[in-house]
Subunit: 303 residues, 2 copies
């Protein structure tokens, strides 16, 4: 293969993904590992990246690796301090330089974004947002980015205006894998009707969440509630409670949900039931598109 | 020491406690271990009990051990099927006999109680309720039993009328020990003012729960939120959301909270702020009092 012109890096808490990129935008190669930020000490980052990308590095010159995600946190390779809203998602002046012993590599890390009141932070999503805006620069409305820490983000005039994070994805994982409910929601399958009923119930009466959870366990014990139904109800209840709390974000807004498959589709369907008309945007390559946008900005700045 | 006339056993998922009892009500000895139901297979129960109580058994006769808790679940020593509400907390005819190889021991297990709609179950709390009613047989009102799975129980004319379980305690443990919030709420100390503010906030706007959680992490990162404050806010938010959902149970009722120290006191203080006038009842010996009440009922039945 030919050497990379630059390297795109998506480096989260539990994963590391890298792409060898050509200046014309082609992806020359891709690689990934489980060397996430959470499993590395500070001197472990450079070897973890070289383990994936060493074969992409031309001898005799420094190739730029441009990274987003938790790699820029205080526990990461280098701390890239949060930038405050309102702001554009990417600002090359804020990209941090990571210390690097190998002369064939230069590493820049994209900072996250903070909001002081109500307090909130993101790291990695700013790059996804940039990837979305690269193809829809005129978008004015609200982005929903489902994930472990689901984000609702107000976008206007190319800027992130405000945002709010919900721990819905992490709550679902904790409750379904580590709580007493794990006995009741395991296995495969899905009950769409049960999901919808729980969603509507919690959207109209979000205070019921705390009361709804244990009933899944009790119904499993008393009437053999099917695990697929219990899991769908748990998901519906948590998402319903989130949508109730996030109503100021989505009500009457133009909405785009990132991630067509799985949970993104569930959010979109739930919003549609509330009379919203969300678009669903393919999410698989959106981080890479954001890293490409960041690279283009760096090149403009260098000119 | 003298031999036990009978043995009282409180056997939960994670603990085993036993008391050597005299027929006149005196406690002759006490012992405990971590041989909870969750760590035992079916043939492990008898050895686990003998490990604590063998020295209390008179030779040549069978001593009764009377047990409550998860020991009577499907995964326990013997399944003691749930009894439906409305019902008195203890009904000797429903006590299950556990298989026992040692001729010096006879084991009876107190069944839990179920409610079909809304679906709910308890195991162990029925014995605590019996212990409470033993000293207050005329109580008419609502019992609050804080714990991993907090229970609100309507009591009238000596019967359990209805009840509802909240996973508040387990949610607090999961979020503070296993979620991203664990970085923000660790250590010692407590911030009563922060607890109260979060409690009031969630009591009046329970739908905010999903939105309030991640802000603890964000404020810790952005403004150095003290762990004691974050932990108190997490607790206040979860209890506030529970009290909002449990309002039909406590509003305008005579309330007794079991457990004077720690979380019982927090529930009582929170209820008092809402204009309720809860009594707080010492909880340390309430399970033993319930087991003694069960033993007395068995003796009456045998006469």
């Amino acid at each position: 293969m030919s050497y990379a012109d630059w390297i795109a890096v998506d480096w989260g808490t539990t994963h590391l993904r890298a792409w060898a990129m050509a200046d014309d935008g082609r992806v020359l190669a891709a690689a990934s590992s489980d060397a996430g930020m959470g499993s590395l000490t500070r001197d472990g980052f450079e070897p973890a990246l070289l383990a994936l990308a060493e074969g992409w590095l031309a001898p005799g010159r420094a190739t730029l690796a441009l990274a987003c995600g938790m790699v820029g946190s205080r526990q990461g390779w280098v701390e890239a301090p949060y930038r405050p809203v309102p702001c554009v998602p990417l600002e090359p002046g804020g990209f941090a330089s990571a210390p690097c012993g190998d002369g064939r590599l230069t590493v820049r890390v994209i900072p996250g974004i903070k909001q002081l009141s109500p307090a909130d932070v993101m790291r990695g999503e700013e790059t996804q947002i940039a990837g979305f805006l690269a193809s829809e620069p005129e978008f004015d409305g609200v982005l929903c980015l489902p994930g472990t820490h689901n984000k609702w983000v107000r976008i206007s005039a190319g800027e992130i205006v405000s945002f709010q994070t919900f721990m819905t994805g992490e709550m679902f994982a904790l409750l379904s894998e580590h709580s007493v409910l794990r006995h009741s929601v395991g296995g495969e399958g899905w009950d769409e009707h049960a999901f919808t009923l729980a969603l509507d119930d919690l959207l109209s009466r979000p205070e019921r969440l705390a009361a709804r959870l244990f009933s899944l366990r009790a119904e499993a014990l008393l009437s053999g509630l099917a695990p697929a139904t219990a899991r769908a109800r748990l998901s519906g209840a948590l998402i319903g409670a989130e949508l109730a709390a996030a109503r100021p974000y989505w009500l009457g807004q133009s909405i785009a949900v990132i991630g067509a498959s799985g949970i993104g589709g569930a959010y979109a369907a739930a919003l549609a039931r509330q009379g919203a008309a969300p678009r669903v945007v393919e999410g698989d390559r959106i981080t890479l598109a954001g890293l490409a946008a960041a690279h283009a900005l760096l090149q403009e700045t260098a000119r």
